[in-house]
Symmetry: C2
Subunit: 464 residues, 2 copies
Amino acid sequence: MTNRNSLCVRVDYTNMLAESVGEHGITEAELSSMMPRMRWAVDSLRAKRDSIRWRDLPYNQAEIVADIKRTAEDIRSRCDDFVVLGIGGSALGPIAVHQALCHLRHNDLPRDKRNGPRLFVEDNVDPERMAALLDVIDLDNAVFNVITKSGSTSETMSQLLTVTRILTDRYGEDELKNRLIATTDREKGNLIGIAKRLGLKTFYVPEGVGGRFSELCPVGLLAAAVCGIDIEALLEGAAYMDALCDNEDPNANPALMLAGLEVIAMNKGANVGVLMPYADSLKYFADWYAQLWAESLGKRRGNERFGQTPVKALGVTDQHSQVQLYTDGPFDKTITFLAVEKYRTEFTIPHAFDDVPNVAFLSGHTFNELITAERSATEHAVTVSGHMNKTVILPEVSAFTIGQLIMLFELQTAYAGELLGINAYDQPGVEEGKNATYALLGKKGYEAKLHELRSAAGKRRFVI
Amino acid sequence: MTNRNSLCVRVDYTNMLAESVGEHGITEAELSSMMPRMRWAVDSLRAKRDSIRWRDLPYNQAEIVADIKRTAEDIRSRCDDFVVLGIGGSALGPIAVHQALCHLRHNDLPRDKRNGPRLFVEDNVDPERMAALLDVIDLDNAVFNVITKSGSTSETMSQLLTVTRILTDRYGEDELKNRLIATTDREKGNLIGIAKRLGLKTFYVPEGVGGRFSELCPVGLLAAAVCGIDIEALLEGAAYMDALCDNEDPNANPALMLAGLEVIAMNKGANVGVLMPYADSLKYFADWYAQLWAESLGKRRGNERFGQTPVKALGVTDQHSQVQLYTDGPFDKTITFLAVEKYRTEFTIPHAFDDVPNVAFLSGHTFNELITAERSATEHAVTVSGHMNKTVILPEVSAFTIGQLIMLFELQTAYAGELLGINAYDQPGVEEGKNATYALLGKKGYEAKLHELRSAAGKRRFVI
């Protein structure tokens, strides 16, 4: 193992503080008064054994990892297209990790230059998208991985019905076991029964691992291994960060400090939280984080409402879209930059128009210097304008640092749940919409809901 | 022309009103008291001739459109990869329109099934992304379109330097004119001089058309035409909506009503605005809109701060990520759904597991019914939970409706600027970051700024 300490993800929270950004920042008194509760939160979280089994994933999966690696090798040897059927927590993690750790245009590379099959993660039920997928994949050489813990996710099960029908018609039911893998609950739900009957290779989502905390179990690890990602290094990174973030001293526990600062900021009116990675490889991390943060903390307790709205931005791209708002707009947000110290490529801006001074000054610099300068400049601009911001620093983008980042944000979210005194692991607010969908599709038992919907539809409408 | 009235984009704002969502909605009194200012805004906007030349684009480009179509035909006949070098307004429009009106996996299709060259829009300076692009494009058969009005956008000019050097080394300077097209200001800036010297085919960004309002000028039209999109229908749609939205009666002017409702909501504390299309084809419209809305309205006037933070969501995907927050979270946001009445594909969910009732109820329905039911169900859920929402309804996704949608949102933004009394067409807040970048890269004239940055860097930092 190389020197892993030099690859530790760090957090710079200087610009969250009033000392740096002025009156709209967090004062020493505010941070001090949160400290006792932050220390308490470490123990409080440890006691939630049943909800935080995802903390065990870096330590308890040796056999599962071996099975995943064997399965992935088999798939890599005979498959050109690997298709994940899943939505929410079953999709956002696989997408984020693939983007972070594969070639940025992995799917566009020819087979001989690509490290593994193309990856498609199908997380919508738009009919045009389903049709488009079938237009481009090579069905003869495709393997599908259907992922749903409950086996009752309508979107995923609709996709499964479609794929099962197509594969059965084309290759016969006996062939399904070579082309379809199920990831679901070990005992409960519709999918495990179907999988057993069809003899499918099956992986399990462990108990106590909710969808948005499931990237480091087979939900995420299989797709990662299929794409040639070092899943053991991912888990090592997660273990490293988990240990660091078990410290009761907030000054030595980055997840706890991030949670404490963000909760103080929320209490001060920052109901918007921007995550702005300065790397295309980390672009979809912001999507994964948006689910984790929104679905865990967007909660009500009686009449009290909680939740900060996560916003995804990409540096430097969104400087040309959002930074005008971030500097001149209201003091209603925090900005979290993701910085990369060492990109995997160095690329020099060549000389071409040396007689045009406004352009020529760029030549000889690297794109690395340019993107880094722009990140520093944007940090400077929002700090000068008085807006709270912080930077999570990745020494490099690798399986080890990505594993750290996943665990860091999961623990930040879990600690924020403790500090706010809410349950970060349920999602009662999605039931109404689910039930209404069932009713509209005529599922048995939802007749009363359908009646309610039809009554509501009768109200006066305002349309232009 | 088919019956275009049946293809008119409509706005249903029922659920913005207290009558529908309860105490956190807009009352009749609030809407009535905004009406006089809304009527005034129509005249006020008409008077801003110099800032709203983008309103003329549907009417004054006959010759330009002919030139674009000729150029696009030439490119389509000899080119496999069309690469846009641009950022912000030069990228977000082309990306959105391409996603809306081409095959959803256009770039993944083989050449003979693809309507035009692959499109790459390069809107970042990540060194890994620049390298990845060069790994996948076929340089021999590629044409580049560099887009920057000012010719001083560091990101775009760095890309131009790179591409110019590579093309010159490989094919000689004389060949540049066959492989590089410039879109820039007619007279000012660095790019027009370079383009003239190299003899490049050049298109112009008209005066009074700011970056975020430029999709319907050559900035967006060339890439669209190259991908086989009917740009005349786009402009017809925009003209149709422009005429509709010149009406002084808010009840007959959808852009004005949208602006009025959103400004009232902002005044009531909705500092977050979610745009949630229920179609993969409209996914990147949310990115385009996010720039338009954030950069136009994120402004300060003395100590007053304006601006609502736009949030991008995708239906149904983000139901599994954000809807928990939208239903149980605070009353700090509006949600704008984009609904599609008729998708371009119909896709039936087949029978496969008829003995599993929790799955079998889906079979026989179409994906179209499923996504539509989920949109209705989500609208119902956020309405029941008391959150303001509205729906922009597209009868179909076509060049004509997309042209309407572009103009609708541009005019909504412009009217909101009038109602708030701010300048929606400048972006003074990005200067600080631009200047800091110049300083960090050692550009002449920015020595004082560099000194300031170095002083700031010396402060005490808090890092874990």
